[in-house]
């Protein structure tokens, strides 16, 4: 026989799981697509940006993203925040990293 506390705990766990199962994808509807944990499979395509490292004299050198990322997904978040310091370590002397996705009018540069 299960104790009343354990029975209520089971009920709470059940309701919490149900809430997470429905609530997380519901919350994900508001953000950009595709997003993780929201069941956004094939809902939109987001290609990888073209990437360059920038040197102090403003010359640029293209970066093959396949060489620094093992697997590309459309639902990456904060790619630039993580990739910029990583590339600055890999390319000594570079001072910034430039990104431009297909369709973007202007490139973005970090830091």
């Amino acid at each position: 026989m299960t104790s009343p506390v354990a029975r209520r705990a089971a009920a709470v766990v059940f309701l919490l799981a149900l809430g997470v199962m429905v609530g997380v994808p519901l919350a994900r509807l508001a953000g950009p697509k595709p997003a993780r944990f929201g069941w956004h499979m094939y809902s939109a395509g987001r290609p990888m940006p073209d990437v360059w490292v920038v040197y102090p004299d403003r010359t640029v050198h293209p970066v093959a993203t396949e060489a620094v990322l093992g697997h590309h997904r459309s639902d990456f978040t904060d790619l630039e925040r993580h990739l910029t310091p990583h590339l600055l370590r890999l390319y000594p002397g570079a001072v910034a990293v430039r990104y431009q996705r297909p369709g973007e009018p202007e490139p973005r540069e970090y830091p």
Binding site: A10, H40, S43
Partner: protein
């Protein structure tokens, strides 16, 4: 009796285990497939010079030298879960390994892996080793807990429902996403003459309608057989359409989704003129009784 007590009564109530056993076999098969599929990605990600791109900050990244050990553990736990040998322990290990891989890098995350984490966790919580398993060999037909089985059915509805809703956007409905995702050569490639914007857009609308229907019809005793046939056709159609390089992803996804269909066909455990006790019936009937005016 409070609503929470009613929910507790439902959560702990036993229901027949056979369909959960079939679902466990399918999910175990998908989990083993995911180990090979994701292992290929992990081998490319856990390399010096490759950006880990963390998903859960603070979660340590596995040294590359340990990868074979992790994959061996994943496959062993998956096979044990599939055949139902020490099912609970296998399920806990399998869910833990897949949760780690889901969270360790944005590159190793995948929707089918996330789905499998839910499925293995819930089937383990249900006690799905009670049927169609080595654990249950020689014993009478067992039972599982009703609430995880109900949650698994809700999960499938959520999956199809949100997949449909998020596709309702101009980019997807134009057919552009489908055009980018489909294979361009080989015997199953759509002939060039049929790859028109109008036809691709029509296919996009049809896929949204199919997923929206699947979110609903599997719950209907009248329509669930047709719904299951539609679901199988949709998943096989996707497998036929996408490039060969992504076939393993799609097959794992198809197996983990279709693998839950048996749960909708659970026979109510009737007896002595009592009302049926399938997981979904029990939940809603008990909850509604608790809210009826007295």
């Amino acid at each position: 009796m409070t609503t929470l007590d009613r929910v507790a009564e439902f959560a702990l109530r036993p229901v027949p285990a056979r369909m959960a056993g079939y679902a466990r076999v399918a999910v175990g098969l998908a989990a083993v497939g995911a180990a090979f599929d994701t292992g290929i990605i992990l081998r490319r990600v856990l390399v010096d010079g490759i950006l880990p791109l963390p998903l859960a900050p603070g979660l340590p990244v596995l040294p590359a030298a340990w990868l074979n050990g992790l994959l061996a553990l994943w496959v062993a736990a998956g096979v044990a879960f599939l055949v139902g040998w020490r099912t609970t322990a296998a399920g806990v290990v399998l869910a833990a390994v897949m949760t780690y891989v889901t969270l360790v890098s944005q590159q190793s995350y995948s929707n089918h892996l996330y789905l499998l984490v839910w499925e293995v966790g819930l089937l383990t919580a249900a006690g799905a080793g009670a049927a169609v398993s080595l654990d249950a060999r020689g014993s009478a037909a067992g039972t599982v807990r009703a609430s995880p089985v109900f949650l698994l059915k809700v999960q499938l509805t959520v999956l199809y429902g949100f997949a449909a809703v998020t596709k309702i956007n101009p980019e997807y409905l134009s057919g552009a996403v489908l055009a980018g995702a489909m294979r361009w050569d080989g015997p199953l490639a759509l002939p060039t003459g049929l790859r028109t914007p109008a036809l691709l857009s029509l296919a996009a609308f049809a896929s949204v309608a199919a997923e929206a229907l699947l979110a609903v019809v599997l719950w209907s005793p009248r329509w669930r057989r047709a719904g299951a046939a539609l679901g199988v056709a949709l998943h096989l159609g996707m497998a036929a359409m996408i490039p060969f390089s992504e076939l393993s992803d799609i097959l794992v996804f198809a197996t983990s989704a279709i693998g839950l269909y048996p749960l909708f066909f659970d026979r109510p455990a009737s007896g002595g003129g009592k009302k049926p006790a399938s997981a979904s019936y029990t939940f809603w009937s008990r909850l509604s009784r608790s809210t009826k005016p007295r």
